[in-house]
Symmetry: C2
Subunit: 150 residues, 2 copies
């Protein structure tokens, strides 16, 4: 029964591929929309939390965020209490792109859920959240170098 993660992988790559193509129109390069939406939704979030939210490597997140800043979609602000962290905020340009991204994502979602009843949609979402919570434990451990036994 290794098929579940395959289906998830297929869906994820397909959706991501579609989004990356469609968001070129916003001058967003590969993957950047992932970070931008979350910064719009969680202003003042820091890099580390964002990487954790998205499930990418710290270094990858750092570079995607830097590029978003260079291109004027977000700003990074130092915190006077904690000198280590840099809080992330959308600029007007970022906020302008936001609805477009949401609209596209919502559409993709609707396509994916075509033919689903309301109950099926709800059930699907709940199952996905449970699976995600299950797997993120292992992800963090493996990332930290812990070996899984199986």
């Amino acid at each position: 029964m290794a098929e579940i993660l395959r289906e998830i992988g297929m869906i994820s790559r397909a959706l991501d591929s579609i989004s990356n193509i469609e968001f070129k129109e916003l001058d967003l390069t590969k993957g950047q929309y992932l970070y931008l939406v979350r910064i719009c939704e969680n202003p003042s979030i820091i890099q580390e939390k964002l990487a954790d939210l998205i499930k990418v490597d710290r270094a990858t997140a750092a570079r995607a965020i830097r590029k978003l800043e260079i291109n004027g979609f977000i700003v990074r602000k130092n915190d006077e209490e904690n000198k280590k962290i840099k809080k992330l905020y959308p600029t007007n340009k970022g906020l302008n792109a936001f609805p477009f991204i949401i609209r596209e994502n919502t559409h993709s979602n609707q396509v994916a859920l075509g033919g689903f009843t309301q109950e099926e949609t709800e059930m699907f979402y709940q199952l996905l959240c449970r699976a995600r919570r299950n797997i993120e434990v292992d992800w963090k451990n493996v990332k930290k170098g812990k070996k899984r036994v199986y």
Copy 2:
């Protein structure tokens, strides 16, 4: 309700990240396990179909497959009927790696499905397949340059 594709993205990236770390032990670099398992399961498959199965760009598949061949996991054979295609087959080395990959994938699957009843697992799989079939239509269209309206 754009949350469903987010959950799928999170799970997919987390699982993929775990697999990539764990398969370094087999001398498989990033993503290669995806191709190798499918070649083991579908010997004589061609590159184009494999890219379609996995939902990656043709060029990406071509390079991953080339590398699998260079490292001795698979072989490419010319077809005498159709000079365009190259059929893919696992070598002994590839076949040896196969059970390890399956074991790892199965374990990840079990972790993801922790706490799921048999019915929930079955339901989850069916919903995933339906979503995947829905979205792959759009994926192919967008890849071919067709614009979606929303």
